[in-house]
């Protein structure tokens, strides 16, 4: 099976990789690119643990062929903090104990960030429906939703 050579941008850096035509983006992120922050909870689009941004849009990297990355930009959890400085969502999740085992957390954070980029003032219901594709079995979602709402409020405050 001939490998494909793919040129893409990951977390702002031009990146090239080789992949099999049927590799998923998640396979490549976790394998050759060693970006294991994106998790595989199902491989079928149901859990959201593999959430990444593709050209600014939230997608499941398990439902994307790696070959499709050619010429596109991908952002993963590894690109969320700016250097040492955590993204406000990351910080708030820590302060509010919005993670227990933490396996869902990268996906939840990437998805929440995508929400706040579109909607600075989401309602609880909007947060809940936006995150419906991110399964969390530990927290019962309460603290996740509160952390997202609180971060949104703080970020609004900061930009006022």
């Amino acid at each position: 099976m001939a490998k494909l050579h793919i040129s893409t941008k990951i977390n702002g850096e031009p990146t090239e990789f080789l992949c099999d035509p049927n590799d998923s983006m998640l396979d490549v992120l976790r394998g050759p690119l060693a970006l294991t922050g994106s998790k595989e909870g199902c491989g079928s689009g149901d859990c959201g643990a593999c959430s990444v941004m593709l050209d600014g849009r939230l997608v499941c990297s398990c439902l994307m062929l790696a070959a499709e990355a050619e010429g596109h930009e991908i952002e993963t959890i590894e690109g969320m903090a700016e250097g040492e400085k955590l993204h406000p969502l990351q910080q708030k999740f820590l302060e509010m104990a919005a993670l227990q085992c933490g396996i869902c957390t990268p996906g939840v954070l990437v998805a929440s960030k995508a929400l706040l980029e579109k909607n600075q003032n989401p309602t609880e219901t909007e947060v809940r429906y936006w995150l419906a594709g991110n399964l969390c079995r530990c927290t019962g979602y309460d603290k996740i939703v509160r952390a997202v709402l609180d971060t949104a409020a703080e970020m609004r405050e900061a930009t006022r």
Binding site: S24, C62, L63, M64, E68
Partner: protein
């Protein structure tokens, strides 16, 4: 191990050529939210994947001069949602497409994929059928048009001929007083496949329903156009009796199966309930349109 090739042509002709040449071994890739799951589960093992997302005609949304819409087959739900006008004109079609999967799935899933996947439970299909949408299809023998309801052939099968690619959906121009709605029954609030789905499109003139179409999903091997239900609504003031007759027509049209998602009895009952609820929403919207 399968030897799979991946192609992302930038023209439709190229895509059709490659797709047809590979005969049965090739698969079209739109958003991939069905096909990748099926590949991973070993249900399909394509020799060639033709990614159609680099073809402009398949990824555009156009509002035509007459007020209709042409939507590329590979347009994702999220992109359609962001269109400034589409949701105003076709709120039911939009809500149906937007009900597909999670935010993540919306970022990729297309109405074309939903239809071509051939699932009787595809959410956009009843709404498209109710809308009276047609599709443009292109294959080795050229282009043709067909109504959406003519596309599904049975679970996982379509009436597209070998080598044919779904190019776009065409939604007709809207009359004043016309609107649509889509509802589905799922056990959770999100992330389930429809147990029953119902799309209603109707036109009201002075409180009288002058035109109606009803699409019903997940109750038969293919999504149904329920003409008897539409007939019961047309000419009525959408009074309880007319709606009950339409609901009965929906129940009568059901030929469901018992499976992990619902029972025959349940699906049949729910078809009637959803018809009533969907009509109410569509009528309310039509009253304001």
């Amino acid at each position: 191990m399968t030897d799979m090739r991946y192609l992302a042509p930038s023209t439709l002709d190229e895509a059709v050529g490659a797709f047809a040449a590979a005969a049965g071994a090739a698969r079209i890739l739109a958003g991939g939210t069905d096909i990748l799951v099926q590949m991973r589960a070993g249900m399909v093992q394509p020799g060639l994947i033709v990614d159609i997302k680099k073809i402009p005609e398949l990824t555009g949304i156009e509002e035509t001069a007459d007020g209709g819409f042409v939507i590329g087959a590979a347009v994702s739900g999220a992109v359609l949602y962001e269109h400034p006008r589409f949701g105003e004109v076709w709120p039911g079609v939009l809500e149906a497409i937007n009900l597909i999967g999670s935010t993540q799935v919306q970022g990729r899933a297309s109405a074309g994929g939903n239809l071509c996947n051939g699932s009787p439970a595809g959410d956009s299909v009843p709404a498209m059928i109710a809308a009276g949408a047609t599709v443009t299809v292109q294959g080795p023998n050229g282009r043709r048009q067909m109504p959406v309801e003519a596309v599904p052939a049975g679970p996982g099968r379509t009436n597209l001929t070998p080598g044919e690619i779904l190019v776009s959906f065409t939604l007709p121009p809207r009359a004043k007083g016309a609107s649509d709605a889509y509802l589905r029954m799922i056990p959770r609030t999100e992330m389930d496949i429809a147990v029953v789905g119902c799309g209603v499109n109707l036109t009201l003139k002075d409180g009288v329903c002058t035109a109606a179409r009803v699409g019903l999903g997940a109750v038969a091997p293919t999504v149904l156009l329920v003409e008897a239900a539409a007939k019961a609504l047309i000419g009525s003031k959408l009074d309880d009796a007319a709606i009950e007759t339409a609901a009965a027509a929906c129940r009568a049209a059901c030929r469901p199966i018992d499976d992990k998602r619902g029972t025959i009895v349940y699906r049949t009952k729910v078809a009637g309930v959803l018809l009533k609820r969907t009509v109410a929403i569509a009528a309310d919207r039509a009253g304001r349109a």
